[in-house]
């Protein structure tokens, strides 16, 4: 019941959010200064061949000379038929391009995200179990440093060390797992810098909870008490944060994909924005809106699975998942 309701609510939200976001993007693109067709022409033929005649031809071909509302209506009508159109720059179906870039982003994102928790979980747990210890102090300093560093600089530092100095890994490109290591690590370090303090705090808080002490009074050893009572309680804030971090990953991608010359949604979207490739921009905004809702759904599902309080609250309120 709870699950069905959750999925139904979130899916409705996802569709609504995606549509609103895409409509906003459509408005923004139209409101941007400069002529759309000229920008598209520049992206297609390059500046050496850019002439007003080519822009005029593209304007007519893409229907950009029609009233804005007609264009928007056309896009909506296509969308209703499940048709996202073709890129005005590459001429490829938007769906195919999206699938290609989303695949790369997904692999890199999941890898980076998993790697970040591979790094952050042991460190955060250790720091939380021994607050004030050397792991805690060093990880705290490192987290502050990494969190303040833009991913661009983290990436350059990793490239300098692993690709240029040690020559263990390629500095850029894609296609093999070796190519994924550095971008994923760049992503992971940025994420871990925020996750370590969250994990540490969750562990410290749970360890300080009286039910852990009481469990020991009941006769459990320190480790056993933490294993039974600490892990799951600490996991709730950590899992919530980790799932939400999936959405923050998106903004890191633009920089990382550019720096590592790796295909993906970030680079795709930026390129489309610069080229005013309207069908791509709209499709990407649809996808991002949908993705955010999906992550939201996963977060809620994990919380429901882990935390009986969340289940009880959802039954009680009956509605308003957003009230979380």
């Amino acid at each position: 019941m709870v699950w069905l309701q959750l999925v139904a609510t979130r899916l409705t939200q996802a569709v609504a959010m995606a549509l609103v976001l895409a409509t906003l993007c459509f408005g923004f693109v139209q409101a941007l200064p400069g002529d759309l067709a000229t920008r598209i022409a520049a992206a297609r033929v390059g500046e050496d061949r850019l002439t007003p005649e080519i822009a005029t031809r593209i304007r007519a071909q893409a229907g950009l000379d029609q009233p804005v509302l007609v264009q928007y209506g056309g896009w909506l009508a296509d969308l209703a038929r499940g048709e996202l159109g073709r890129s005005l720059v590459t001429g490829e179906p938007v769906v195919a391009e999206f699938r290609y870039h989303a695949g790369h982003t997904l692999v890199l994102g999941l890898l980076g995200w998993a790697l970040s928790y591979l790094i952050a979980l042991p460190i955060g747990l250790w720091a939380g179990l021994r607050p004030g210890g050397w792991v805690d102090r060093i990880s705290d300093a490192a987290a502050v440093l990494l969190a303040s560093l833009p991913p661009f600089l983290t990436g350059i530092a990793l490239i300098s060390l692993f690709a240029l100095t040690l020559t263990w890994l390629p500095p850029a490109g894609f296609g093999t797992w070796a190519h994924r290591v550095l971008p994923a690590l760049t992503l992971a370090l940025g994420l871990a810098a925020f996750a370590v303090p969250v994990i540490r705090t969750a562990v410290v808080e749970v360890r300080g909870a009286f039910y852990i002490t009481y469990a020991q009074i009941k006769g459990l050893g320190e480790t056993t008490a933490f294993r039974h009572h600490g892990l799951r309680n600490a996991a709730i804030p950590i899992v919530t944060y980790a799932a939400l971090q999936m959405t923050f990953v998106i903004d890191g991608f633009v920089v990382i994909e550019t720096l590592f010359n790796h295909p993906g949604l970030g680079a795709w979207l930026v390129k489309a924005l610069l080229a005013r490739d309207v069908p791509v921009i709209l499709a990407a905004s649809l996808a991002i809106g949908f993705l955010f809702s999906l992550v939201s759904l996963i977060t809620d599902a994990l919380c429901l699975a882990l935390d009986p309080r969340a289940r009880a609250a959802s039954v009680r309120l009956g509605r308003g998942w957003s009230a979380r």
Partner: protein, 490 residues
């Protein structure tokens, strides 16, 4: 007869060297009950902490603690004391809800204490908990139910010494009676029980031996009956007499009876889920200068009723009116009158931020209520509430419970309230402090025409000072025990 606990000149001092517990010696023989009573913040709980090796790191301890057949142990040796957990000593902690893992089922938590499924069922039944309680997650339990789960666990584990820290705090009279019965049963079954309480009725009912503490020192010690019969010191006598006096009936028409009641409710119902109503079709009204008492067993929805009346929650049915105007339909009402309907919390610590001087937080109220000059309004208020102005410099954690509650009240009064809903405002206070605070509250009602709704467990207390009492009856979520004989006031 052996001693399950022997304290020898136990002394506890804070980091500044101030003595919090001063050379206390105490023995608790197997099969007996020892009761420690004394003022709030008088160091009673520190003694329990010391026995369990749970004293905060900043506190120093000296003297010895001998548990059962173990060798005497230095009070400062926390790790040795901790090794006696479960085998020698078991505790019923002061905050029962915090001792349970909120997201684990009760039976699993009891099983982790080493109880077999059969023993769990038996233990739950012995404290009048429904059989399905074991399958519930701890967060769904009311405070009173959590308390009983812990009692059941402690009784089930069977350590020779049972330390109960304020075991009746926040319980209604019927439940207080039950706790006493369970503790006595534990003693009768051959266990030593050390009870820490501020409730003289509990001390009397438990019998055994009584130790009266004041400022960390023993002022009287002896068999309970003897001490109660003829207290030798002024403090002990005062402590025993600290029952609130019956309120004199006041003439009704002190205020215009024709005006709309400040607070009224009609047909009020509320339930967390459909079909499980906490209360239904409740009607009440509160006029100027009146005191309305609300009582009922734990978990019955007293605090929820308070929140409904304050517009903090929405009823499932019925209306709440402020000055005759319904809350739900008229948003403007809430906006205009919000500040004049205030709540006095059970725990003053939840009102003030812990890390800032209380005074600074009071001054900041000027932002909430334009036109308020705390510098002008505060001194006479503090004088009226008998609060020393130098307390304003301290953080709430450095202020005793009674004084903190007065400061919380001062905070409310700065907002010029018409109605105060006090949710068990004295349940954490010892009788003397409790009596003083209630005197302040009734004084405000009598002199300034405030209206007060007083939520409490203590029926005798409510009957003594209120004009009218609403008794909420138990819901299915927390079956009421059969009404035991009422524990009489001394």
């Amino acid at each position: 007869m052996t001693n399950a606990l022997c304290l020898d000149t136990l002394t506890i001092a804070d980091a500044g060297g101030r003595l919090l517990v001063d050379s206390i010696s105490l023995t608790v023989p197997t099969g007996s009950i020892a009761t420690l009573v004394g003022e709030t913040g008088g160091g009673k709980s520190l003694i329990a902490d010391a026995i369990l090796g749970l004293l905060a790191p900043g506190l120093s301890a000296s003297g010895t603690i001998t548990l059962g057949g173990l060798a005497p142990c230095a009070a400062a040796d926390r790790s040795s004391l901790r090794r006696a957990w479960r085998s020698q000593v078991m505790v019923i902690p002061q905050e029962p809800a915090r001792a349970l893992d909120p997201i684990m089922r009760v039976e699993r938590q009891m099983a982790l204490a080493g109880l077999s499924p059969a023993a769990i069922g038996q233990a739950l039944a012995s404290v009048d908990l429904a059989p399905d309680t074991g399958a519930r997650h701890a967060f769904t339990l009311s405070g009173g139910m959590a308390q009983r789960v812990l009692v059941a666990t402690a009784l089930g584990v069977g350590a020779p010494l049972l330390v109960a820290d304020e075991p009746t705090k926040g319980l209604d009279d019927a439940r207080v009676h039950h706790v006493i019965a369970w503790l006595r049963r534990a003693a009768a079954s051959g266990r030593a029980v050390l009870v820490i309480t501020h409730d003289r009725r509990v001390a009397r009912a438990l019998d055994g031996s009584l130790t009266v503490l004041k400022a960390g020192q023993v002022v009287e010690q002896g068999p309970t009956a003897a001490v109660l019969a003829s207290p030798r010191t002024v403090y002990a006598r005062q402590w025993l007499e600290a029952a609130p006096t019956r309120r004199d009936p006041r003439p009704m028409p002190a205020w215009d009876a024709s005006e709309a009641p400040l607070l009224s409710a009609s047909g009020l119902s509320f339930g967390w889920s459909a079909g499980r109503a906490l209360f239904q079709n409740l009607t009440l009204s509160l006029s100027r200068g009146r005191i309305l008492g609300v009582t009922g067993p734990s978990g019955v929805g007293k605090s929820t009723l308070g929140n409904l009346l304050l517009g903090l929650m929405r009823p499932t049915a019925g209306d709440v009116c402020w000055q005759g105007r319904p809350l739900g339909r008229d948003q403007a009402v809430v906006r205009h009158l919000r500040q004049r309907y205030q709540k006095l919390h059970q725990d003053p610590g939840s009102v003030f931020a812990p890390d800032q001087p209380v005074g600074r937080q009071l001054v900041r109220l000027a932002r909430v209520r334009p036109g308020l000059d705390p510098a002008l309004a505060l001194p006479p208020l503090l004088d009226q509430l008998k609060v020393k102005p130098d307390l304003l410099q301290r953080g709430v954690t450095d202020i005793s419970g009674g004084e903190a509650q007065r400061l919380a009240l001062a905070r409310l009064l700065l907002l010029d309230p018409a109605v105060i809903i006090a949710d068990e405002p004295t349940s954490r206070l010892d009788p003397i402090t409790q009596r003083d605070l209630l005197a302040v509250l009734t004084d405000l009602v009598d002199r300034q025409g405030l209206s007060l709704m007083l939520i409490g467990h203590d029926q005798s207390l409510l009957r003594a000072i209120t004009d009218d009492v609403i008794a909420l009856s138990a819901s299915d979520s927390d079956p009421a025990p059969e009404s035991g004989p009422f524990i009489p006031s001394i």
